[in-house]
């Protein structure tokens, strides 16, 4: 019990560090709130679920992860750095001239980034192809694709969803960061009446829902392979800007860089001050 409390405390500290890294990176770029909404999901995946380490980034049997919502890449970079895939000092170069850390993941530049993303609606189809390719070659690895709920407005997501069900890709997991707030407003205003859960269900996917900031629950549900012949989708209920109260649910922070007083305040709020 004590051990698990310690464990919980160190996990919380780790998640806090990741959020700190994100805020430091966001000095000149948009999308801080995007990264804060999906960081717990990424942490759960990389720390406890994905069968991949810095030493196995090219191993055929590794699990694959695709950040289809490429604009959340500060979260990915922070996790890759903490997990030893890339140098932590590299984070300081984010968005700078000559850096391999662009504001959307570049192709072929970083250990642990399977493909370039940044134009929405591409990741699930690529993930489906990977899942199918692995199956055809008898490799039991899984493929995880992180999408945004706003991204689910892209028609290409649903073409990939239908194909994945048709191919019984039960090694494919779509993880949806349902923060309810996309680039131009709340999803419920932009697509009223579109029930995401119903959509995925009607495409024949195995569906589960989870609090996208509950680390333990995330680990449990992400780690559980459906094994029922169906591709699996996990709808993660999240808060855009989670962890910094004045950013939470505020569309402004989809775009606004974090500088000066904003940064100091954000770092203080992370600690609960």
């Amino acid at each position: 019990m004590i051990a698990s409390q310690n464990n919980q405390a160190s996990t919380n500290e780790f998640l806090l560090e990741l959020r700190r890294d994100i805020i430091m990176m966001a000095a000149n770029s948009s999308h801080v709130a995007v990264a804060l909404s999906c960081i717990d999901i990424l942490a759960a995946l990389y720390i406890e679920v994905l069968n991949i380490t810095p030493l196995t980034v090219d191993a055929p049997e590794r699990d694959r992860f695709i950040l289809s919502k490429g604009h959340g890449c500060m979260a990915l970079y922070a996790v890759l750095a903490r997990m030893g895939f890339i140098e932590r000092t590299l984070l300081n170069s984010y968005g700078h001239n000559g850096s391999v850390l662009a504001e959307h993941p570049l192709a072929g530049k970083l250990a642990g980034v399977e493909c370039a993303t940044g134009s929405l609606g591409h990741g699930l189809a690529i993930g489906a192809g990977m899942a199918s390719g692995l199956k055809l070659q008898g490799v039991s690895a899984r493929v995880f694709v992180l999408l945004g709920d706003g991204e689910c407005n892209e028609g290409s997501v649903w073409e990939a969803a239908a194909l994945s069900r048709a191919r019984n890709l039960d090694n494919l997991v779509a993880v949806v960061d349902v923060n309810g707030l996309q680039a131009c407003g709340p999803s419920k205003d932009i697509s009223p009446g579109m029930g995401l859960a119903d959509c995925w269900k009607s495409f024949g996917w195995d569906i589960s829902e989870v609090d996208g900031h509950d680390y333990r629950e995330l680990v449990k549900i992400l780690g559980h392979a459906a094994g029922n012949g169906l591709p699996k989708v996990i709808l993660c209920q999240t808060i855009k800007g989670k962890g910094v109260d004045f950013m939470e649910g505020d569309l402004e922070w989809h775009y606004r860089p974090v500088r000066g007083d904003d940064r100091d305040k954000a770092l203080r709020r992370l600690k609960g001050a």
Binding site: H96, G98, S119
Partner: protein, 262 residues
């Protein structure tokens, strides 16, 4: 999005479809071809961030191949305004459109060029932005600003090229370019776009057909993905499209000896 706009247009409206350049051009290319161009739906496609304006966002957000790709399509007017004033003129021109159009914007804070002129430029026609006696630089879009800076640098060498800007790139003003070739020994084109399908190639074809022995040089972006993250300024410099490089290329063009015809 494009199909929806086509539907709106078919009811008599004039829809504007707006997004970051690649997402409103290459991503929906076939919809533009069939729904707008072939089905004759008057829609204005507005791409923000043409060229390298979204630099650090990476190649997914760069708009450096839009014009070449869209130039394959019949019926599509292509506007590449050079400053905010010209953007307004393009938007005004949409009211008399008889076919779909693509309007290529920068991102923001593009410098004003035409506000300082006494006359309002005619966007439907190429315009001489600077008079000159040492050949011509032809350009299009916001890169005009770099070209004008290059012209200032060339002045220090006592070289005075004329500068022509094209705002309507399609239909291409071939007749105007033909006249220009007849009156000039050297022509350089400058564009914030890959060479394929762009201003330079279109001009080169006319130069070649004219057989007038004109010295010609084309400055465009290389067809490759950048090796890292860069802002627009750095990407332009790396592509030889900053003012210094443009001036240097022009000097090189002037120094070229005619090989004549064997």
């Amino acid at each position: 999005m494009i199909g929806y706009a086509a539907g709106l247009a078919k009811t008599g409206l004039l829809p504007f479809v707006y997004s970051i350049t690649p997402f409103v051009t290459l991503r929906c290319l076939e919809q533009i071809k069939i729904d707008l161009c072939y089905n004759q739906a008057n829609v204005v496609i507005v791409g923000v961030g043409g060229g390298f304006a979204y630099g650090p966002n990476g190649p997914t957000h760069h708009g450096i191949d839009d014009i070449g790709v869209l130039s394959c399509l019949p019926q599509l007017t292509i506007w590449t305004p050079s400053d905010p004033y010209e953007v307004r003129l393009c938007v005004q021109a949409t009211t008399s459109l008889e076919s779909p159009a693509y309007l290529r914007l920068g991102r923001n804070k593009e410098p004003h060029i035409f506000d300082s002129l006494n006359e309002s430029p005619d966007i439907s026609h190429p315009a001489m932005v600077r008079e000159g006696s040492d050949g011509v630089i032809i350009t299009s879009g916001f890169i005009l600003h770099e070209v004008l800076k290059a012209v200032e640098l060339l002045k220090q060498h006592n070289i005075h090229p004329a500068v022509v800007r094209l705002t309507t790139l399609r239909p291409f003003p071939a007749e105007y370019i033909r006249l220009m070739i007849a009156n000039s020994n050297q022509i350089m084109t400058v564009e914030e776009h890959v060479a394929t399908g762009g201003l330079g190639q279109e001009t080169a074809r006319i130069v070649a057909e004219a057989c007038a022995g004109t010295r010609f040089s084309m400055l465009a972006i290389a067809t490759e993905f950048p090796d890292a993250c860069y802002d627009r300024e750095s990407l332009l410099a790396r592509s030889g499209l900053d003012a210094d490089s443009i001036a240097a290329s022009y000097l090189k063009l002037l120094a070229q000896k005619h090989r004549g015809y064997a």
